[in-house]
Symmetry: D2
Subunit: 456 residues, 4 copies
């Protein structure tokens, strides 16, 4: 029996390929799906089945393209009108050599969510492991905020799925969820990516509830953000997204050409580090450090604009394109040749965002200097501890709440460590704010230097 977890960095999405006897199934394939075929080839297996545990909303699924490449059949739950694939129903079983996969409906996160119970017939017909999709994570459970008018109902569904169907599989059963730490699909997940039903039953904080009502109460009081790109992902994943196939890759673009393209509407996406962006950036560009693209690009980049990349070095082009493509962006046409250096030597204007050391921030606050400290963290982080006098607007909401920010005094952007804050700073600059600074280190550094901190 062969089992391999494939982790999509940034998304923190976990997909699986499992096989035996020359046949294999893939569970929740990501859009850049060549990797599953490569693994199957190497292991001498033919991919015959693809399972989607649910319609994912945080990335574009690769099922359709993988099915075309391999001839495999796609299966998903029955409660959504998918325009492709077949329906997997409760207790349906699929066999691969000694492997049996059995369908268990586990709604709550979404209505059509399924889990797949794995049985190794060579040893027993009892469950060995379970693929739980977004129902049960390691250290957390799935979000239940997607149906605001049915919030208690779906939280109850999730309770039933976990407590009535998954936990009863047995303490010994291994757990394979669809996401790990860093995903937008949950905030309490463990950094560790292995666990068992029994370990979660005892130690997963989200499962330490008094009863069903307590669980529902907790779930419905959670505060989640719902980024705009989820809608696009849902549309794609219901209809079957376009193939990545032989997409044209972005080509190098000299500074002059890049500048002209920006004048004509090119969205200039700067993927360099916060420090590099602070040091020098092209006016009008949006800062999203490379590894933050999977989580934040979908908040700020519309689907109808051409994208030009500003990168630290050429090897960053490939992951940037990969991350963006997983979110459904397909119009990445160019990257700035020689990066910012190419722009600098062309004599074109660049700007900078002074970095504010936490110690200096403390002095300025102690000295009652006049400035806006714009904290862009999540509400729950702000509740847990904030600098007095700070203004809170969640990063994803900055573009639509710009008029809440005064333009007549300096702004210092602020978050947990200074990384989200650089995105906010770039958006302010795009929108004409002049005196924008960024606190590299932010809350972590403020704690270290002894700033006074308030919590709710």
């Amino acid at each position: 029996m062969f089992l391999k977890k494939i982790r999509s960095e940034g998304l923190a999405q976990l997909s699986y390929i499992i096989g035996d006897g020359g046949k294999a199934a893939v569970i929740d394939p990501r859009r850049d799906c060549g990797i599953y075929r490569d693994i199957a080839d190497r292991e001498g297996m033919q991919i015959t089945h693809i399972f989607e545990t649910h319609r994912n909303e945080d990335f574009v699924i690769g099922s359709c393209e993988l099915a075309d490449l391999t001839g495999a059949a796609i299966y998903h739950g029955e409660e959504l009108p998918f325009e492709y694939g077949r329906t997997a129903r409760e207790d349906d079983v699929y066999e691969f050599g000694n492997i049996v996969l059995r369908v268990v409906k586990t709604p709550g996160h979404t209505d059509e969510s399924i889990s797949l119970v794995l049985i190794d017939r060579e040893f027993s017909d009892q469950p060995l492991a379970v693929f739980t999709g977004d129902a049960l994570f390691i250290g957390d459970v799935g979000r239940t905020d997607f149906f605001p008018d049915r919030s208690k109902e779906v939280a109850g569904f999730l309770y039933d799925s976990i407590f009535e169907k998954l936990l009863p599989l047995g303490d010994h059963v291994l757990l394979y969820p669809a996401h790990g730490a860093g995903s937008v699909c949950g905030s309490g997940m463990a950094s560790r990516e292995f666990s068992s039903i029994g370990y979660e039953r005892q130690f997963n904080p989200a499962l330490q509830v008094k009863d069903r009502s307590d669980f529902i109460q907790r779930k419905t009081s959670e505060k989640h953000y719902y980024p705009p790109y989820f809608k696009q992902m849902e549309k794609y994943n219901l209809a079957g997204p376009p193939h990545m196939g032989a997409l044209r890759r972005p080509v190098p673009s000299a500074a002059g050409e890049f500048a002209s393209d920006m004048d004509r509407g090119l969205l200039s996406l700067d993927t360099r580090s916060p420090e590099a962006y602070s040091g020098a950036f092209i006016p009008g560009s949006l800062a999203i450090p490379l590894d933050m693209i999977p989580v934040y690009a979908g908040w700020f980049i519309p689907y109808d604009r051409d994208i030009g990349l500003i990168i630290h070095e050429f090897t960053d082009v490939e992951p940037a394109v990969r991350y963006l493509t997983r979110l459904g962006y397909e119009n990445i046409i160019s990257y700035l040749d020689e990066g910012l250096h190419g722009w600098e030597v062309s004599g074109r204007h660049y700007d900078r965002i002074p970095a504010v050391y936490a110690g200096d921030l403390k002095s300025r606050m102690d000295g009652n200097q006049e400035f806006t400290l714009l904290d862009v963290r999540k509400a729950e982080e702000v509740s847990a501890g904030r600098l007095p006098g700070s203004t809170h607007i969640y990063l994803g909401e900055v573009p639509e709440r710009l008029d809440e920010i005064p333009r007549d005094k300096p702004i210092i952007t602020f978050c947990g460590s200074g990384r989200r804050a650089i995105i906010a700073a770039s958006i302010l600059k795009q929108n004409g704010f002049e005196d924008v600074q960024n606190c590299l280190g932010s809350m972590a550094a403020c704690q270290a230097v002894g700033c006074s901190i308030r919590s709710d």
Copy 2:
């Protein structure tokens, strides 16, 4: 928390690197130990601890070289006079960020065997997983035949280790053993490499015993083979083996040069497929197909002879050297340039071993033709089913039992599928047997074509 299993193909040996907070431990590193450092580097971790669950006997351990490369400290059990490293005692704990590793003594396979219990302090101080070395495998338990005069005692130790110490850790605890299917350290292991204590408790055949006596009874009645190289491995692993460091790699050797070297005592090791060896081979060469080296080379190759390789193509040199080096061979000086083709065009003599199709074998047996059918499988396989009239000598014992094989009639070598049989055939040819044939397909094919089969 980072955990990665490193599988050494052929040996079916499983080692692990686990880390958190920038520090990492390696458990049972293999001799070609660069991989651990590469992984640690990539993950931004420093390897500070190396654990040996026991003195391994089936491969050369990489602890000492890895320690030199990284500055890490080595730990092992206390019952053997290791000439390097430190002693890990019951309940000793080692911490890496949120990880705790706790030592549990689990003798039986060897006296100094230890297991390491893994705890994730971020969630609980209860066990999450356990590294069991050669005490408890997935689908099997460790061998207890290394101390023939204490056989019941050590089998009892193993029972106690498993039933009193490992199983009580809890059904939910994940299991990480030191070997998987294909290892010489057990024959019943699952092809699957993931399990939990609870799954094994219920479904591991070796654990389905009535009581301690039943367990001891079963273990002491097992028949294991003890290859001669185990002694060399034990010596190496007690003293700390020489570093692989910058070993000279084998160089290409033209046919003439290779022939001269063979005249001067070079051991010519043919790693090609059984079919290719059957088609044409150099007289005097020993056949061990590439992927069988880890298991069989130690039976037939003395440590004091230079080795020359005959390979299918250049890319086979690297794994051949790797496999041999893991077994302690360091004198692989050359490979035949252009492989057998180079030999053929030089006009040098080659021989062949006709392949006998199972259908033809059946006809010959039905026709009462005179020949020796030499079955080289393990005793337990022969007991389970053999062709009538066959002669049984286990492959590893062929060299010392040659005089039991008649030289005056044809010999057909035979095993489960024809692969071990080609090794036997080459040994017979080396020793002057003239009419040697090999049944490619062997028992598997004989069953398919309907040969009559006897079992005990």
Copy 3:
């Protein structure tokens, strides 16, 4: 200035990517054309031009697919009605940073052949190098046998192209041809892949002629073979071949399934070594050792049959598919799972082709044993030296001249080293010849063991 030669193994085809100032040209791209894009990406260049020095006949060109991937324009000579691309005319120039490429018409091999003169404007406007396609090779010149009724005319064209246009570029000019040693496009090419116009002028044997007539005389007296697939390649390369795009890869096929597919018409292509094929092969399969596919598959495999591969190990699938795809085969649907071993253990029948050592062959000939020695080398090789009494049929012509071979006595196939002979042996076996043996080592070994050899 960036220049890289890309060698396609097997075809011995040389393509080039050359660029400067962020733009690049590719000359004669092969069908699996991703490599050019990868290189261009890494070097920060955009591929804007693709040149075909002529309509290639020995492989499928990748121009159209590469153009689609990059947006580049394709250019070729004007004397053929290409269904894609643009026309490059004498003295047309193309500029890339400091690079100038200038077109020189160099007909002879084909009418529309062009060469491209490279100039480095940073240093001089004089030629630095020249891409000569199939006009001038290192150590040889192009074939002129494609227009039998115009043979003298086109040989004369080639003379003019070389002596009037290429050599006058200057001794110092570097030479970049479209093929190297091993290509079917010439037999005298140097193994070395670097030279200059001056070195070739002085030392290329094909250029050491008295005059134009002498050159024409020599060229028209050459004997070349014209394999049937050339027609398919010419058709493809004139019209623009289908994209490789996201072709389905072959999947593993268990022995039973593979056997059924063979019954239904699957062409079973055995790519293992001659020795392995000799040792055991599936009746009905065609032997073409992996690295001989580029040169010989086109002689024997029709374009309308599904192909199933028999491979030594999984990693051979990829090159086998690559080689076949370059020749226009796109119907490689499966490979035999676990290779011949899988077939053997299934109990299915296999056959073998005994290898005949040259020393034994000599004995048999000296002893006047009755057999057919079938020599499948090229006419020119046979003229240079043959064993007395041998029958000559060129390998490519064996299928259509089977009735010239007696079926009532043993056949020993024979070539230069035994590799082409195994292909011939497999074809004889496919066609019902029973007693077929193969001389591994063949002529090379016969010379070494002192067989008597005759030449014309």
Copy 4:
């Protein structure tokens, strides 16, 4: 015949491996010499000879380690008392299959310099190519400034070597020098890495001289910089440098630990981009952007201090170590974990160097603002064009000429593009200069924005 050029990035050093008939020679191997063995292995060749065209002064040679790994013999010229290897004398020949390498003494750059003439006996006994070391480059000739008191003599030697020995080999002879564009061993080299004797004879600017005196006159009037590390390299390369063998790699070091180590004398080397350094840097750290290490590290880093790296991301550790090791640094003990981000969140102080846009610089100059514009380019660049009022100190000389720079007004560092200037800026900051800014874009940008420029 096999020939491959290996380019060492940064050093722009070119080494070669050439072989035939299973034997190979390596010319001027770099210190990280595994690559030659890997290539030889892949090509089925044994490295038997290593040639050093001269005692290199700009990097540590890998000859001794490669010799140990392969058993090859080392050869070099006879005029220096090398402590290893053998002597190659005029007209000595070495044969590898059809290859002949013939020694030609070509002093001038150094006294013991040799060139190696390549002959392909399969075609001719006349020269095909020549490996010229540092005698003749593509577009330039070797430096002759290493013996100041013999400057005319050695320039004359170089003239004789080139005009009497290399050019007479023939226009058709291919040229393989030891350096390409970007090397400290010459400033006029072509970006192109292929040429012929004939092309250089006609178009190499350094060869377009009236006569021997003219050549000597030109060479002796060149201004070269002689960095301090050359002495160390010469010592190493004369005695045979220590093996890289199994050097310990740097380990991650948390911010606190890194800070302590800096307090104890660790040299903190920041290899990030100029923009990132501008944005935020650790006080006391030396900025050398990663790809500038090969050329500039040797000027500023003493051999007796431990080095800690500050890197953009983990993958930069390997090239940083490689570059430093090639220059003889072996004490790179750590890298800052999580890079500058790790430092920022620890609450430790960081500083920044404001970037000055060329347009702003122009305004400041036009407005007669008071500041020092410190131009750190080479004298020849400054002569060709400088901003009025600038102060010139060559980058390599900044540390020893600090007292020429006023401390009482702002300093703007300046070079060709802003990259060397960031190194200078970091050195000023290390030495207590407070108001340091850097002109990203520097002269290139100033030209683009229309600053007034003066030349000598």
